[in-house]
């Protein structure tokens, strides 16, 4: 596959809110490259700067430093005083509230980007028809906007953003106002729509499950900084930052000290309170460095008898076992710590049972212990 060029380039973006004493530093040098045709997600807790970054791309906020280019054209450059206003940028945006104008019908809303360009009536009618078909709203052209359901409003918002054939689609938490069932449905619709149109799309969300399900690439953000970028599977299975490991899904953290290393991504040894464990080190981890092992609850097979010939086996007692239908969610006491373990329902367990946990060495990710960015705010494992 040919190397894809970057559709959106963001370089050292800085942004402050408020004045004087109440000045808050909301973007601290965010740099990102978004490949053409990809569905790229900004993920992070509220206040991490993801929406602000998106609004800077849209031109709705004016950054206090850095530069942004879309499709190779600089739309903002702080030093050179370049600022292309929102309405001149090749973008389409879907807002959290959908921002469907209540004084217009469905087709008036969708046609708006063309109407203000004074396109011919025929062209407008044709293209509105086309785009409404794409989002599955054909036949509702003359419905007044306030008479739409939440899901329909969202489709109108998409149609309105798509009709001008933008280079970049900006989606600001578009699913957060829908009920749970509709959210899952719209999630896959957005994904397939993006596949069909292959418009570069930036998707902002605080919901990690949504991000994992929908994205080609995820940029994890916290406290106005970019933490880590990667494909969903890569970020989930092999995070290189502690924040990513704890924010994306559940994980167990075991502290220790690296005693043996055999190079990046090759198994090493770490000394913990629970004994010597085999693990996969994150790039840059050094011998004798304080580290933590992050291992997901579903990567810990649970045995009732001590398995023979395996390393990384710990002995523990079940403290809690909650039956979820598709799994048992267990809390297992190992020494003074509780580990979260998810096990298949075949494996019926009950509190008080003595069990053996196999910490699959390939799933034990060793991360530097001093990488505390965003850690104090996120409750670990409990």
């Amino acid at each position: 596959m040919a190397e894809k060029r970057d559709m959106v380039q963001i370089d050292s973006l800085e942004k402050y809110f408020g004045e004087d004493k109440e000045r808050v530093h909301v973007l601290k040098g965010v740099s990102l490259n978004i490949p053409e045709g990809s569905l790229y997600t900004f993920l992070g807790p509220s206040g991490c700067g993801k929406t602000t970054t998106l609004r800077c791309v849209a031109g709705l906020e004016r950054p206090d430093g850095g530069r942004i280019s879309i499709g190779g054209h600089t739309v903002f450059a702080f030093g050179e005083r370049v600022y292309v206003p929102t309405n001149k940028r090749p973008i389409g945006m879907v807002f959290q509230s959908y921002a469907i104008w209540p004084h217009m019908t469905v087709s008036e809303n969708v046609a708006y980007p063309l109407t203000i360009q004074r396109r011919s009536k025929d062209e407008i009618r044709r293209r509105v028809g086309d785009v409404l078909k794409v989002v599955g709203l054909d036949g509702l052209e003359d419905r007044p906007a306030p008479k739409l359901s939440g899901g329909q409003q969202q489709r109108v918002a998409f149609a309105r953003a798509l009709i001008n054939e933008p280079k970049v689609m900006l989606l600001d938490e578009p699913l957060s106002n829908l009920d749970a069932r509709l959210r899952v449905q719209m999630r896959s619709e957005i994904k397939s729509l993006q596949r069909r149109t292959s418009i570069t799309t930036i998707f902002v969300t605080h919901d990690q499950a949504e991000a994992l399900a929908i994205s080609d690439q995820i940029a994890v953000m916290h406290g106005g900084k970019l933490i880590e970028v990667g494909a969903p599977h890569q970020l989930y299975a092999r995070p290189t930052r502690r924040f990513t490991a704890t924010f994306l899904g559940l994980t167990n953290l075991i502290e220790g000290k690296v005693v043996e290393l055999d190079g990046d991504s090759k198994p090493g040894k770490i000394q913990t309170k629970k004994g010597l464990l085999t693990f996969i080190p994150a790039p840059g981890l050094k011998k004798d460095q304080a580290a933590v092992i992050s291992i997901r609850p579903e990567n810990i097979p649970l045995h009732k008898e001590k398995p023979q010939g395996l390393e990384n086996v710990l002995e523990g007692t079940i403290k809690e076992a909650i039956f979820m239908g598709d799994a048992y969610q267990c809390k297992v006491a190992v020494g003074d710590d509780l580990l979260a373990v998810h096990t298949h329902p075949f494996n019926a367990v009950s509190p008080g049972e003595k069990v053996y946990l196999y910490l699959d060495p390939g799933s034990c990710n060793g991360l530097p212990a001093d990488d505390t960015e965003g850690i104090d705010e996120t409750m670990l494992g409990d």
């Binding site: 849209a58 031109g59 709705l60 005083r81 370049v82 600022y83 206003p85 929102t86 309405n87 001149k88 940028r89 973008i91 389409g92 945006m93 807002f95 959290q96 509230s97 959908y98 921002a99 104008w101 209540p102 004084h103 708006y112 980007p113 203000i116 360009q117 007044p144 306030p146 918002a157 309105r160 953003a161 001008n164 900006l170």
Partner: protein, 563 residues
């Protein structure tokens, strides 16, 4: 980066216009009050002579006291009537209370000059209907009531102003959390004790701000003091200013000194009011929780409250409207009798409609009212966008500037504008344009209030969606913001066009023969003693007002959101 796009031009233009409208008259008034002669006359110098003449006149203290008495008296009477009616219609099970709401608001639509005239026709010692009837019934020697007294003036003013108290107090009663009263009832206190110990104290802040509004309106009032106070030789600030200009030769400097004094009093009132209501906004009511006002069961007393209410309406609505209608159909003024009934005629209306100036006055009033309402609402919509939606520096100042004219009594604004357009090389003095500018200035505060209130309701994303769809600021404003603003826009427009049509106190200093308006025509006819003609004109004015309000409502419903 383009430096001058349509957005920048419109924003700068609107801001400059507001600064000009609100700032220049104020500066010219202050300047004029310290000049020895009108600007343009040779040899004029700076002087404090005007203030010396104003303050060391022994009449000044009577003037001051009269104004205060008048303001306070009006406060007392209006708050008694207005609060009583608001309480009855919002919080009790008194029969016919829906009807009361309509009745209470009728005096709102009757121009001040007409309601003043109607009370003279009812309470004048010589020709007052009430006096004549009571004298005849009881065989009295002299008339029991005299409109030409301080209390007569207060009464006439109060009947004109109480709907304002009614509206504000109704809102206060509606917004009150009734669970506070229910708590008192469950604690064992009676309905009356609850009202006295819980309801009234809770209403105190609202009550105080209402009193302040009425006091300001009272000392700014012109119609009653001019028509009743002048013949009764009871002077207040507004009439003193009017007379200083209407005497020959006009004493603009003296008028300016009095105007500055009046302006100081009303500004103080407005500042205190602003402080109180801001605090109220911050702490109270806006919880988004829909209180359902608890209706108090008055038992047998509900017939008493009903009777009192009807008595008030008989006095405040039925008698004045009746006397206007009656007088408009009779050839000469007199007590209704079988003999006069037989002489009822359309002649007064014929006379008015064929009066040489009438057509001009109707046209001018109509243009001014529609024109000023439209300009004010467009202008304040832009200003409200700046003050509500942007973070531009100085936006709070702009908001305040737009609001300044609320503190300017109509007569003071008139004096200021005389100074402005006698000085500046803008040749509009004596034309309808100076009246238009005056009306725009005067009604700007009402416009900004309506426009900001609706602007706050518009979600920012609705506007951003237009920008991201490629719309320019101007397109966004015209196609998204204005239509969404339409309900507030229309409400403000109706209100302004109605008060513009009745405007007298500013116009009377600025009109010329060709720019006569309806209220001026009524004033002149009255001064000429042509009572029956005035009443016919008044009936036509009220009809015009009703038609305008009706049309505007229909239009607004069509342009705005259908729901």
């Amino acid at each position: 980066m383009r430096r001058f796009n349509s957005q920048t031009l419109i924003l700068i233009g609107a801001t400059l216009f507001v600064l000009y409208l609100a700032g220049v008259p104020l500066l010219m008034l202050l300047y004029g009050s310290i000049r020895s002669a009108p600007i343009g006359e040779p040899g004029a110098t700076f002087t404090i002579q005007n203030y010396v003449k104003a303050y060391f006149d022994k009449e000044f203290y009577f003037l001051f006291l009269n104004s205060i008495y008048y303001g306070v008296g009006t406060c007392i009477v209006t708050s008694l009537i207005g609060t009583y009616l608001a309480w009855v219609s919002e919080r009790t099970n008194t029969p016919f209370k829906k009807l009361f709401v309509v009745m209470a608001l009728i005096p709102f639509i009757i121009p001040g000059i007409l309601s003043t005239i109607s009370w003279i026709l009812l309470l004048s010692p010589k020709i007052g209907l009430i006096n004549l009837v009571i004298k005849e019934l009881l065989g009295l020697e002299s008339a029991p009531f005299n409109i030409y007294s301080m209390w007569g003036m207060i009464w006439a003013e109060s009947i004109h102003l109480y709907p304002l108290v009614f509206l504000l107090m109704s809102a206060a009663f509606r917004n009150m959390d009734t669970s506070l009263e229910e708590a008192a009832l469950t604690a064992g206190s009676s309905t009356f004790t609850t009202f006295r110990r819980v309801t009234l104290p809770l209403m105190r802040p609202a009550m105080f701000s209402v009193l302040l509004v009425i006091f300001i309106r009272g000392i700014e009032a012109f119609e009653v003091p001019a028509l009743v106070g002048v013949p009764a030789k009871i002077s207040v600030f507004t009439t003193k200013i009017f007379l200083a200009i209407h005497q020959f030769p006009s004493d603009f400097g003296l008028a300016g000194a009095y105007a500055v004094t009046l302006l100081l009093i009303s500004t103080t009132g407005v500042l205190i009011y602003g402080r109180i209501t801001r605090r109220e906004d911050r702490y109270a009511t806006v919880t988004g929780k829909g209180y359902r006002p608890r209706v108090i069961d008055l038992g047998g007393w509900k017939y008493v409250t009903c009777a009192i209410s009807f008595l008030i309406f008989l006095l405040a609505v039925i008698l004045p409207v009746f006397v206007l209608l009656w007088s408009s159909f009779i050839p000469y003024y007199g007590v209704p009798s079988r003999e006069l009934m037989g002489k009822m005629t359309w002649a007064n209306f014929h006379y008015i409609l064929n009066y040489p100036l009438a057509l001009t006055a109707f046209k001018n009033s109509f243009y001014l009212s529609v024109g000023s309402a439209t300009v004010v609402m467009l202008l304040t919509s832009v200003i409200a966008w700046i003050t509500v939606k942007t973070k531009l520096p100085g936006r709070a100042l702009l908001d305040n500037m737009t609001f300044i004219p609320i503190a300017m009594p109509g007569i003071v604004l008139g004096v200021s504008l005389i100074w402005v357009y006698l000085t500046l090389p803008i040749p509009i003095y004596g034309t309808i344009w100076v009246l238009l500018l005056a009306y725009i200035t005067k009604f700007m505060p009402y416009g900004i209030r309506a426009a900001s209130a609706s602007m706050i309701q518009i979600n920012k994303e609705l506007e951003e969606a237009s920008l991201t769809a490629g719309g320019t600021w101007f397109q966004t404003f015209r196609k998204v913001i204005l239509p969404l603003l339409m309900p507030g826009f229309t409400a403000g427009w109706i209100y302004i066009s109605i008060i513009a049509l009745r405007e007298l106190s500013t116009s009377i200093l600025l009109y010329s023969y060709n720019s006569t308006v309806l209220s001026i025509m009524a004033f002149d006819l009255w001064e000429g003693g042509q009572y029956t003609y005035v009443c016919a004109l008044g009936v036509l004015m009220v009809l015009l007002l009703l038609v305008m309000a009706f049309i505007a409502r229909k239009l607004g419903a069509k342009i705005g959101i259908a729901e």
